[in-house]
Amino acid sequence: MSRSHSPDLGRWYVIAAPYFWLFLFFLVPFFIVFKLSLSDVATSIPPYTPTFSWSTGIGDFLSKLDIENYAFIFSDPLYVNAYLSSLKIATVSTVLTLLVAYPMAYGMARAPKGWQPTLMMLVILPFWTSFLIRIYAWIGILKPEGFLTLFLMKLGLISEPLQIMNTTTAVYIGIVYSYLPFMILPLYASLEKISPTLLEAAEDLGSRPWRAFWQVTFPLSLPGVFAGCLLVFIPAVGEFVIPDLLGGSETLMIGKTLWTEFFNNRDWPLASAVAVILLLVLIVPIVVFQRQQQIEREAGR
C-alpha cells in the first residue's frame, strides 16, 4: 500500500505547512510575550524577572509569575482610556475609509473593462513608496505653514493657518489615506462580481436607480464591506506610526502607549500585558468576521 501512502503524505505536508508557520511565528512569540506579561520589571539584563534557570527548576520559575501587570492596567485609567480611544479612532477612521472607498470601488467596478487594470494599478501605486515617507509627506501638507494652508490661503478661503497637525483629525486623515487600498480592493472584488443584469431586473420591476442600489447592489457588496472594514479596523487599532507622527502628544492610542512602556520606561512585562489585551480586543472582531464568512459559505452551498 506504499503507492497510496505517498499522496496522503503530500497532502499532510500541504496542510501542515501553514500550521507550522503559524506555530513558529505566531504561537511561539505569543507565548514568549504572554510569559513576559506575567513577569515583574527589574533593573537587569534582560529587564524582567524571573528568568528561567535550570538550577532553581521550573516550579520555582512558575511560582514567581503573577498577574499584577494586568491588575495594574485595569486600575490605571490611562490604559483603559488608551484602549477606548484607540477603538474610537479605529472605528471612526474605518467608517470614513468606507465612505471614501465605496464610491471609488463602485466607479472602478462600473468602468469599462479595459480601464479596470489601470485603475487597480493606480490604487496600488502608493505602495511603491515607503509608508513612513508617505506619512512624513502628510506632515508637510498638514503643518500650519504647510501646503494645505498655503493653498487655501491663496484661494482666499481661510485667513488663519489651519490647526490640523497634532490633532486627532490629522490621525484620521493619515489612517484613511494609508488604509484606503485595503478597503477598496475587497469592495471592488465584491462589486465587480455583481451582474449588471440584476440592476436591470430591479429597474424593470419598478425600482428607481437609487433604491435599486440599496436593495440590490449594497446588500450584495456586504462581504466586501466586512472584509474591508476588518482589514482597516484591526491594524488601525494598534496603529503606532500615524498617531506618533501626525497626532502629537494630544492623541492617546494604545500602540503609542505600548511603545512608550517598552522603550521609554523599559517596562517589558507591562508592555507585554498591554499587547496581550490588545490581541484579545482584536480577536473579537476577527471571530465575528469568521462567523459571517461561515454563514455565507453555508448559504452558498
Binding site: S195, T197, L198, E200, A201, A202, E203, D204, L205, G206, S207, R208, R211, Q215, V216, P219, L220, A299, G300
Partner: protein, 398 residues
C-alpha cells in the same frame, strides 16, 4: 401589417379564416392582426438602433396585439434582443418610436414602463428568498404587506413554487429558477411580459414542458407575451405570430403555419425547418399553375399565385415531408425525379432519406415509419423515385 383586404373582411364575417391557399397548419380563430378595428398594444414605429457603426435594428415597424404570444425569431446577432430591450427601456432607439397602448414611451425609464421582463440569465436576486424575489416588484409600488403576500402566493401557486418559498435562488434547480423568474415577471400583472430566451438554459425535455407551461400561464393570465428566441421549434410551439429577423431587418411576420407553409424567402424557408430548394426559370404560367425549368434540366409544375413572369429566376422550395419516396416509378405523376439513396437518418418515428439525383443534386425526403414491418425497406444505395404533387411546393422570388 394591419391592413386587411376586402377579401379578408368578407372571410372574417363569414367566420372563415383563410390565408392564401389552405395549408395543413391549424387555423385558430384568434387573429386580432386581421381586424382593422383593433389597435395594437405595442407598436414599433420605424425603429432603428445603431451601436457605433453597427446597425443592430434597421427601420423596423411592427404591431403586436393584446393577448398575443408573439415570437421574435432569428439567429444570434439579428437584433431581436435589442428590439425587446428597447421595449423594456434598457436601450433607446436611435430613430423611431415605441408606443404602448397608444402612449409614446420611447424615452420613458424602465421603472415606469408597464412591462416586465424575464431575463435569459433569470437575474434572480441571490440575497433574497423565492418569496422576496417574486414580491420585489410589488414592494416598489408601496402595496400593503398582506396584499403583497397574497399576490406572491398566487404567483407561487400558479407555478408550483410554494414548497420553495423560503429558499434562496442558489438552492434551486435550473427549472425551479426558471419558474421563479417567470413568477417574478408576472407578479405585478404587467400589460406585457417580455421573455428573453427564457428557456435557453434548460435541457430539451424540460424545455418542452416549460413551453407548455408558458402557454398555460399566458392563456390563464390573458397577458400579452413577447418572446425572443433563436429556436424555431420553440417559436412554432408557443407563438400566435412569429416575426423572423435577419441582420436587423424584419423579413416576415406571420402565423407559424404561414411561415412554414408560405415562407417569403429562401432564408426563412431554410431557417424554419428543413427545405429542398431548386433554382430555375419560369417556363410557363397557366391558370394558377407555374411551370419551372430547373437548372438541372427537370421541369416542375406547381400550383402558385405568385406574380411572376416567364423567364424570371425563381426558386421552388419543398419541405422534405411533402416528397414521396418509392422503389417503383410512380405512374401518371408530375414532378418525378430518379435518384440513389446516399444516407438515411433513422429517428425512430420518422426517417430522413438523402437522395442524390443524376445531375448531382441532393434532395431530402422524409417518411413516417408508420408500419412496424416493411416488406422492402428503402436502404442505402437503393435506386428510388421521388415525386411530389403540384400543391406541395412554394415558389420563391428571393
Amino acid at each position: 401589417m394591419s391592413v386587411a383586404t376586402a377579401h379578408d373582411m368578407k372571410a372574417n364575417m363569414a367566420g372563415v379564416q383563410r390565408t392564401g391557399p389552405r395549408t395543413a397548419a391549424p387555423q385558430s380563430g384568434f387573429a386580432p392582426w386581421k381586424d382593422p378595428a383593433k389597435s395594437p398594444i405595442v407598436r414599433f414605429e420605424n425603429i432603428t438602433k445603431t451601436f457605433d457603426d453597427f446597425v443592430a435594428v434597421r427601420n423596423v415597424t411592427l404591431d403586436i396585439y393584446e393577448r398575443e404570444f408573439f415570437a421574435l425569431l432569428g439567429p444570434s446577432g439579428c437584433g431581436k434582443s435589442t428590439l425587446l430591450r428597447m421595449l423594456a427601456g434598457f436601450e433607446r432607439p436611435t430613430e423611431g418610436r415605441v408606443i404602448v397602448g397608444g402612449q409614446d414611451i420611447t424615452s420613458m425609464p424602465p421603472y415606469e414602463r408597464p412591462v416586465n421582463m424575464m431575463f435569459q440569465s433569470y437575474a434572480l436576486f441571490p440575497h433574497m428568498t423565492v418569496e422576496g424575489n417574486i414580491g420585489f416588484g410589488l414592494r416598489q409600488e408601496g402595496m400593503a404587506k398582506d396584499k403583497i403576500a397574497q399576490r406572491v402566493d398566487e404567483a407561487m401557486a400558479m407555478l408550483e413554487l410554494r414548497p420553495f418559498a423560503k429558499r434562496k435562488p442558489n438552492q434551486l434547480s435550473g427549472g425551479q429558477q426558471q419558474r421563479v423568474a417567470l413568477a417574478r415577471a408576472i407578479a405585478k400583472k404587467p400589460r406585457i411580459v417580455l421573455l428573453d430566451e427564457p428557456l435557453g438554459a434548460l435541457d430539451k425535455k424540460l424545455r418542452q414542458q416549460a413551453q407548455f407551461e408558458l402557454m398555460r400561464i399566458q392563456e390563464t393570465t390573458g397577458t400579452t407575451f413577447i418572446i425572443v428566441t433563436h429556436d424555431q421549434e420553440e417559436a412554432m410551439t408557443v407563438a400566435s405570430r412569429i416575426a423572423v429577423m435577419e441582420k436587423g431587418v424584419l423579413v416576415q411576420v406571420a402565423t407559424p403555419g404561414d411561415i412554414y407553409e408560405n415562407p417569403k424567402t429562401r432564408y426563412i424557408a431554410g431557417f424554419i425547418g428543413d427545405v429542398n430548394v431548386f433554382e430555375g426559370k419560369v417556363a410557363a404560367i397557366t391558370d394558377g399553375y407555374i411551370e419551372i425549368d430547373a437548372k438541372d434540366g427537370y421541369r416542375f409544375k406547381t400550383r402558385s399565385v405568385e406574380p411572376v413572369s416567364v423567364g424570371q429566376q425563381v426558386w421552388l422550395a419543398l419541405r422534405p415531408e411533402k416528397i414521396r419516396i418509392a422503389h417503383d416509378q410512380p405512374v401518371s405523376a408530375v414532378n418525378v425525379i430518379p435518384g440513389k439513396v446516399e444516407d438515411i437518418g433513422y429517428l425512430g418515428s420518422i426517417s430522413h432519406y438523402h437522395v442524390r439525383t443524376a445531375p448531382g443534386e441532393r434532395i431530402t425526403a422524409l417518411r413516417a415509419n408508420s408500419a412496424h414491418t416493411v416488406e422492402r425497406p428503402i436502404s442505402w444505395e437503393d435506386n428510388v423515385w421521388l415525386d411530389w404533387p403540384v400543391d406541395a411546393g412554394v415558389v420563391l422570388t428571393a
